[in-house]
């Protein structure tokens, strides 16, 4: 080697010599202008070195070159695979690569309705939020709507039409179906369109066309439309018919109600238009003006609505009549004969309800969740007596959804089962084999029906027993229109071209009716139909727009057309309260069951949506499962496990109600009425392994499905619809059952196992409206003081560190979360998951405490030893708090995400500086730099950091559940946010990609950033506007003023980490004498205040 080196040096010397040699011919530099270069020069001269020619490559050098080039070639061959990015040949209109396009549209799935905005990137819808500017939902959505974008990319969605279970072509099934229909028509047979509630005027028109095509010679149609909702509200329609001769579901307005009384109605979660009601409810819950609505709930299960109530009466479902009768009597609406009210008479909440209803006459609202027409009549009577029909209820502008006709459905299904049914059935939007109590019998009977067609997008329980499936488009692929309320029209527009070979259901009906022809994926059949109808019906009824095109464009742009609403009137009440037949579910047993829908799974439509399956239930915090909620004392008496965690599963019970028997785990839940249990609907789907989506089934610890004996994928949970029953022509959602303990335990995946706040007042703060109105801030929201030689000082003034230079310099992003308006629905959690590509990890990993949610909803129950949640009774030690949960506790929901501390404990401990503070106050996570020591997570007092334990986008354990392992599912990923690899930490970034985008918007418009430019995903979907984001350094920003509100506090303020998130403490509109005594200005605080005053 040393030889070589010297040789090289020698060569260089030669070169140098050579240069001097050549310089005699060619000057090194020109000394004056006059000097000229020699004109001619040979190549050899130009190249200079004659000796170079003599130099040769010897053997050693040759070997060196060879070695080097082989090594270089080898290295070059190791290059990473080339991933091609193919640019557009023709750039589609409206698509700017890298920029999102938002489309206004409408969501409707038969139970949830909302005006939405769909975010698309490069032609892919990736995010859904509410449309805050247009529509009666005013931006309010629910977790299911936010998550529905993922279903679009479900790889088990049908890709082609099916005939007898085998893939077919449209022309093939069209001809067969038309033949059958014509044969039935020729035989004067009956055809039924069995659908969920149709809120679309165009669809109804299509069905009319269909009816006409198959009408008999006499002109009466052979086609009947039967509308059926899995969860029926038929009782309300019938009651209004009986009370006011109007078969309607009225328009409720919770924002105008000063007193809200709900008897078993979960109006913030699932009951009718709950997202709209959430928004209205939230509006009435801000105590700033000194007033807020008072909410009294009576129920058996602790529902999301009940957990927000100021007063909550625990009653059995069989006592709902008594509660309503007692209220009716109390408010002077007359007595209900035949109802014994003695059991509930002394209920404190009942007394409060009557008192409060009388105090706010008219400005009140009583709602009832039962489907029993009699109970709804009593409810109507109460509201009528109180004068609500001109204030909070509008009968003249009714909701045009929830059209289920229970008696008709019952008769039809019984006919089919008995073999007397129609010859042809077309299912649209309804899945009765799954949702009906006698669905299993229906499935068998359908096999004998001459023609069965399903328009479902999945080969679900009903569709898979049909002869033909003509798969409908996904809602995000199709045009539609809606008329959800009498004065309200909406349009749904497609946000992506059909992904598969599917066609809109309406087009299929038109084709079969012979009115239209198939037009493939680019089909405009139904679009033309809608626009024609709107031109005929809509355009003519308005005067604002002169030509249809403008009218239509405006309608599509807004997605909404609002007509003037008919004013509310209070018609005469014509029903009688005496002799009302109260429906009783039959059966015997030791427990009453109240069936309910979860905010995540709902009626079961989205059971295969992994985001929703992994969303913890707001109250039990259980994911991926169906279970029995039971009173703690009942559970103790029966010897069921009261506490569960990773290695301690839930006890299992066998539920026997009539001829239905199944096993479910028991989750002891505070607030459940003794003697009752709650079971969620929407689980136990695809019991025979039907292809409804990959995430609807149980998976094993190392991936793959759990199979039953017949080698069929095991569904998650049990189908509780089998417990429903038809009683007197009404579908009832309660039952009576015998519970017996089964062997063994069942693993449960909960995201929170601790139930109380352990008296930690610096985390959860609450007060009553009375205290809030009467006392000074320091009584209920005292500052954290530190003793010093100069007397007590604020925690903010004591720090060893230099202030992080974000105050009053540039931006400082901050967030305010109003715990009073937060209802705990969990929309924020799903929106965050959708926006930030948060991985789904499945039941086994959640059970191990490894869910990845960047935003979670902490839930705390009140202990008997606390005055209010988070505030111990005097002298009580923490150790007594956990096991003394109140039987009927108040609940505290607290959205928790990265607090973006200005003195962040995570930042100091990272050895490689992978988490740092931005000069805009954000705590940033640099994934590329992270080596995964997890020190930051340990040191985070809020425990919001999430570690990538595995490679979620590729590890086999997550194949079935993680959309990012699915070719199609991957399309939902937000390209602005990186998918994290294993071994790195992640956490809430305040949607930094949206922050940057917001700044850019302002920059392009050459103005400072203002409120609304920068939003986070959680804020965008919050139905109650509890979350406010903005620039704290902007003195006019909302978050700045909120941060100095009287209710404002920071969680764990005493640690001095200086978060950029402020919480607005919870105010309950209830008396709490103990709290009044506890929340007084303490001496040290008073001294501090006085001292401060003197100084300033």
């Amino acid at each position: 080697m040393s030889n070589n080196t010297s040789k090289v040096i020698a060569n260089n010397k030669d070169m140098a010599n050579n240069t001097t040699n050549t310089s005699s011919k060619m000057p090194e530099y020109f000394e004056s202008r006059g000097e000229t270069a020699p004109k001619e020069q040979t190549v050899a001269e130009f190249l200079g070195d004659d000796k170079l020619r003599e130099s040769s490559t010897d053997r050693r050098d040759f070997l060196k070159f060879l070695g080097f080039s082989v090594a270089a070639a080898t290295l070059a061959a190791c290059e990473a695979p080339v991933i091609k990015a193919i640019p557009y040949v023709n750039k589609p209109e409206n698509v700017v690569p890298g920029e999102a396009t938002w489309y206004a549209s409408t969501y409707y799935d038969g139970s949830s309705y909302a005006s939405i905005l769909v975010k698309t990137r490069e032609g892919r819808p990736i995010f859904i939020k509410g449309n805050a500017d247009y529509g009666m939902t005013a931006g309010a959505i629910n977790p299911q709507i936010a998550a529905s974008v993922l279903s679009l990319y479900d790889s088990e969605r049908l890709k082609n039409p099916l005939a007898s279970g085998a893939e077919s072509t449209w022309s093939a099934i069209d001809s067969k179906i038309t033949d059958s229909l014509n044969r039935i028509k020729a035989n004067n047979g009956k055809i039924v369109i069995f659908s969920n509630s149709i809120a679309s005027p165009s669809t109804l028109a299509v069905i009319e066309d269909f009816k006409k095509s198959f009408s008999s010679v006499e002109g009466t149609s052979n086609v009947e439309l039967v509308q059926y909702d899995a969860v029926s509200y038929n009782g309300i329609r019938k009651a209004n018919e009986a009370s006011f001769a109007m078969n309607v579901i009225p328009d409720y307005d919770f924002s105008k109600a000063e007193t809200i009384v709900s008897v078993g109605a979960d109006f913030l979660n699932g009951w009718l238009l709950s997202n709209v009601y959430s928004k209205q409810y939230g509006a009435g819950r801000n105590p700033k003006s000194g007033k807020m609505s008072k909410h009294i709930q009576f129920e058996a299960n602790l529902s999301l609505t009940g957990s927000n109530a100021d007063f909550r009466g625990m009653v059995k479902p069989s006592q709902y009549p008594a509660v309503l009768a007692a209220i009716a009597e109390g408010v002077g609406a007359g007595s209900v004969s035949g109802v014994d009210t003695s059991a509930v008479k002394n209920n404190a909440a009942l007394k409060e309800a009557i008192k409060s209803l009388l105090a706010s006459k008219g400005k009140s609202l009583v709602v009832c969740g039962s489907n029993d027409v009699s109970l709804q009549i009593i409810t109507n009577k109460i509201n009528h007596t109180l004068g609500c029909y001109t204030e909070t209820i509008n009968l003249n502008n009714p909701i045009q959804m929830f059209n289920s006709e229970d008696d008709k459905v019952e008769k039809l299904v019984n006919d089919i089962i008995a073999g007397k049914g129609p010859q042809g059935i077309i299912f649209y939007g309804a899945n009765p084999v799954y949702t009906l109590p006698n669905g299993a019998a229906l499935a068998k009977a359908l096999a004998k029906t001459e023609l069965t067609v399903s328009l479902a997008s999945w080969a679900d329980e009903t569709a898979s027993v049909c002869k033909f499936i003509a798969p409908d488009l996904h809602a995000l692929e199709s045009w539609n229109d809606y008329n959800p309320r009498k004065n309200h029209y909406a349009i749904a527009q497609p946000t992506i071209k059909p992904i598969h070979n599917t066609a809109s259901a309406q087009e299929s009906l038109l084709v079969w009716a012979g009115v239209a022809k198939r037009a493939g994926r680019e089909s405009k059949v139904y679009f033309d139909y809608i626009s024609a109808l709107w031109e005929k019906e809509g355009f003519t009824r308005q005067t604002k727009y002169a030509d249809f095109y403008t009218f239509w464009s405006k309608s599509v742009h807004d997605s909404v057309v609002e007509m003037p609403a008919d004013a509310a009137t209070s018609p005469a009440f014509v029903a009688s309260l005496s002799g009302l037949p109260i429906k009783k579910v039959s059966g015997s047993g030791n427990f009453e069951i109240e069936l309910y829908t979860k905010s995540s799974i709902g009626t079961g439509i989205h059971a295969a949506n992994p985001w929703l399956q992994e969303m913890p239930d707001p109250l039990t915090k259980v994911t991926w499962d169906n279970y029995v909620t039971m009173n703690l004392k009942d559970a103790e008496a029966a010897g069921y496990n009261r506490k569960m965690d990773q290695e301690h599963g839930a006890s299992v019970v066998t539920i026997k109600a009539g001829n239905v028997t199944f096993d479910l785990p028991v989750i002891p839940t505070p607030g459940q009425m003794q003697g009752t249990i709650g079971i969620a609907l929407g689980y136990g789907r695809a019991e025979n392994g039907e292809k409804i989506g990959k995430a609807a089934f149980k998976t094993k610890e190392y991936g793959g499905y759990e199979m039953n004996d017949a080698n069929v994928r095991q569904s998650i949970g049990q189908n509780a619809y089998r417990l429903t029953s038809f009683v007197g022509g009404a579908l009832m959602f309660d039952a009576i059952a015998t519970l017996t303990k089964a062997d063994g335990t069942y693993p449960i995946a909960m995201t929170q196992t601790q139930r109380t706040a352990m008296g930690r007042n610096s985390i959860t703060k609450e007060t009553t409206l009375d205290i809030f109105n009467k006392k000074q801030k320091e009584a209920y929201n005292p500052p954290h003081l530190v003793e010093s030689v100069e007397g007590p000082q604020s925690i903010h003034d004591i720090t060893l560190w230099k202030e992080h230079p974000v105050e009053n310099v540039g931006h400082r992003w901050g967030m305010s979360i109003d715990l009073n308006s937060c209802i705990g629905c969990g929309s924020c959690l799903i929106a965050c998951q959708s926006e930030n590509n948060v991985p789904v990890v499945g039941k086994d990993e959640v059970r191990r405490g490894r869910e990845m949610h960047w935003l979670r909803l902490d839930r705390y129950f009140k202990s008997e030893n606390e005055v209010a949640i988070g505030l111990n009774k005097k002298g009580i030690e923490d150790k007594y708090l956990e096991d003394n949960i109140e039987d009927n506790p108040t609940v505290f929901f607290m959205p928790m995400m990265c607090q973006h501390c200005n003195h962040a404990p995570c930042e100091t401990v990272c050895p490689v500086a992978a988490t740092t503070h931005s000069n805009e106050g954000l705590n940033q996570m640099v994934y590329n730099r992270c080596i995964g020591t997890r020190y930051c997570a340990n040191n985070c007092p809020y425990k919001v950091r999430r570690f990538n334990w595995f490679n979620y986008p590729s590890y086999k354990k997550f194949t079935e559940i993680n959309p990012s392992q699915d070719e199609l599912g991957r399309m939902v990923l937000n390209p602005d946010v990186v998918v994290r690899t294993r071994g790195v930490m992640e956490k809430c970034s305040f949607c930094v990609q949206k922050v940057q985008a917001g700044k850019l918007v302002a920059k392009k418009e050459s103005r400072p950033v203002k409120d609304g430019d920068v939003t986070t995903a959680c804020q965008e979907v919050c139905p109650t506007n509890a979350i406010v984001v903005g620039d704290w350094n902007d003195p006019s920003s909302a978050v700045r003023s909120l941060s100095s509100e009287k209710r404002s506090y920071q969680a764990l303020e005493e640690l001095g980490v200086k978060p950029n998130v402020w919480y607005q403490l919870k105010v309950r509109n209830a008396d709490n004498k103990e709290l009044e005594k506890a929340q007084v200005v303490e001496e040290a605080v008073a001294h501090f205040l006085k001292h401060n005053e003197e100084n300033h």
Binding site: D645, Q646, E647, Q752, T753, Q754, M758, G759, R760, I763, E845, R848, G849, R850, E851, R856, D858, R859, E877, D878, K879, M894, M896, P905, T908, V909, C910, P911, V912, A913, R929, C930, I931, G932, T933, R934, Y935, A937, N938, N939, P941, Y942, K943, R945, R946, F947, N948, W949, F950, N951, Y955, T981, R982, G983, V984, M985, A1051, L1052, L1055, V1057
Partner: protein, 476 residues
């Protein structure tokens, strides 16, 4: 030769000559290994390989193969790390601190204690590596120039201090140990007959010739290294403790951690030294060198450091209660832990680190080989629990009750831990087989030389006793 008071117990029992010592120590290397060695070595290899398998699976699959979760980001990994580092403390303390304090009884035990230190630090050092989510980026913890521009390590992070502390400690320990080994390797080189062994030992002995100049330099370097190593004894575990002490976690955030951790480390280190030496003493017939007196002395160190640890526990418990801070009622030393779901871990700690070692106050027990050995194992277990309690118990119930959770170890957690014990044993067994387990040159300096001794020598041994063996490279 120096004079010792006659009443002092001799440090080497029996009538050993210099030559006897050489033979006693070298015999192990020169003879065929006993069957038992092969049995133990095989078992240790199997466990060690299993551990390596677990580690490879961990690195191949992800940290999720451990039982950690969103709240408990460290558990067995860092517990094992601190445990092994703690064990490593005895070696340096014995060889460096006791050297400076001229405690001559250390000479019989320092060689193996140092070996134990080095192997323990190897095991310890592995955990911070494998506990990383992305071990392939582990070199980022070093402040090396990089292509990322101004990107540098975070000097605020105690984890970074750890990197420096552990690597310094390991390198100084290795050098210190190796320097001490050189003359003894030379002795072996001169004695062994097999050519390969001879070649190996001659390489290892660095051409040591035993000249006075060599001895002079040897002594000097030893002293300098002892001086260097002494502060390290205190700094390493102080810095390890700062991983916890400088954090915000209730129970971790404690100013007494540095001295308390050092005491705990010495406590566990001496226990481990006893665990190993008392077996080695029997197996290698070193009864004359490692005596009851050694055990007694070591147990006194254990009593003292154990006392410090006990006082620290009491202080932690008291301060938690006296502060009245809610969060302190669930730290590892609190009522919440004593009665909570981790009560067994709490009481295991109290039992193993305070109650049972308390028996050592009795001289009979303190100087009994069997008792000392049993108690040393109990202390090893107790000190593992101390680290487990500090890490897991403090994390599992920290600020927000919503995140409270339990930790359950996975099979891989257990496999990796057992694997390190296996690997450690492999190293230690190799050490006992191929290395001089006593510091020959040092041990020879503490042979009791007196008139009595000479009188009792057989005639033909007078020659040897004249100290010619001191220059061990030339004789035998």
């Amino acid at each position: 030769m120096h004079k010792e008071a006659a009443i002092r117990e001799p440090l080497i029992l029996g009538k050993k000559t210099y030559h006897d010592i050489t033979v006693d120590v070298c015999r192990v290397v020169e003879d065929r290994a006993p069957k038992m060695w092969y049995v133990l070595f095989t078992i240790a290899c199997i466990i060690g390989l299993y551990g390596i398998g677990c580690i490879l699976y961990l690195i191949g699959t992800g940290i999720g193969t451990w039982g950690l979760n969103k709240t408990i980001g460290w558990a067995w990994d860092i517990t094992n790390f601190v445990w092994w580092v703690g064990i490593g403390h005895a070696g340096t303390l014995i060889s460096a601190v006791l050297l400076l304090f001229k405690q001559r009884w250390r000479m019989a035990i320092n060689r193996s204690a140092e070996a134990m230190t080095i192997f323990a630090v190897f095991m310890a050092g592995m955990f911070p590596m494998i506990h990383m989510g992305r071990i392939w980026m582990a070199y980022w913890v070093f402040p090396i120039p990089n292509q990322f521009g101004s990107l540098w390590v975070n000097f605020n992070s105690p984890l970074l201090w750890d990197v420096f502390a552990i690597s310094t400690y390991l390198s100084v320990s290795v050098v210190f140990w190796y320097i001490g080994l050189i003359p003894d390797f030379a002795t072996l080189r001169d004695r062994v007959k097999k050519p390969i062994a001879k070649k190996m030992y001659s390489i290892l002995s660095f051409g040591w010739s035993g000249r006075a100049k060599h001895w002079n330099r040897f002594e000097l370097v030893s002293l300098v290294l002892a001086g260097l190593a002494t502060p390290l004894v205190f700094s390493v575990h102080s810095i390890v403790s700062m991983d916890f002490a400088t954090s915000l976690v209730p129970g971790w955030h404690s100013t007494i951690f540095p001295p308390y951790f050092v005491a705990g480390a010495v406590f566990s280190g001496f226990a481990m030294v006893q665990t190993l030496l008392l077996i080695m003493r029997k197996a290698m017939r070193l009864e004359a060198y490692i005596t009851r007196q050694h055990v007694g002395y070591m147990n006194i160190v254990i009593i003292v450091t154990g006392g410090i640890v006990a006082v620290a526990y009491a202080t932690e418990y008291f301060m938690g209660w006296y502060s009245g801070v809610q969060y302190e009622s669930y730290t590892y030393m609190s009522y919440g832990s004593a009665t909570g779901r981790y009560y067994w871990a709490f009481w295991a700690l109290i039992l193993c680190n305070i109650a049972i070692p308390g028996l050592l106050w009795f001289k009979k027990i303190r100087t009994s080989f069997v008792w000392a050995w049993l108690i040393s194992i109990v202390i090893n277990i107790g000190m593992w629990f101390e680290r487990f309690d500090i890490i897991v118990l403090c994390l599992h119930h920290d600020y927000l009750p919503s995140s409270w959770i339990m930790f359950y170890p996975s099979a891989i957690d257990i496999g990796v831990f057992l694997g390190t014990i296996g690997l450690f044993s492999v190293f230690f067994l190799l050490f006992t087989r191929y290395f001089p387990v006593l510091a020959l040159n040092e041990v020879k300096s503490i042979m009791k030389v007196s008139g009595e001794y000479y009188k009792n020598l057989p005639d033909d041994h007078h020659d040897e006793a004249h100290g010619s063996d001191n220059n061990n490279s030339n004789n035998h």
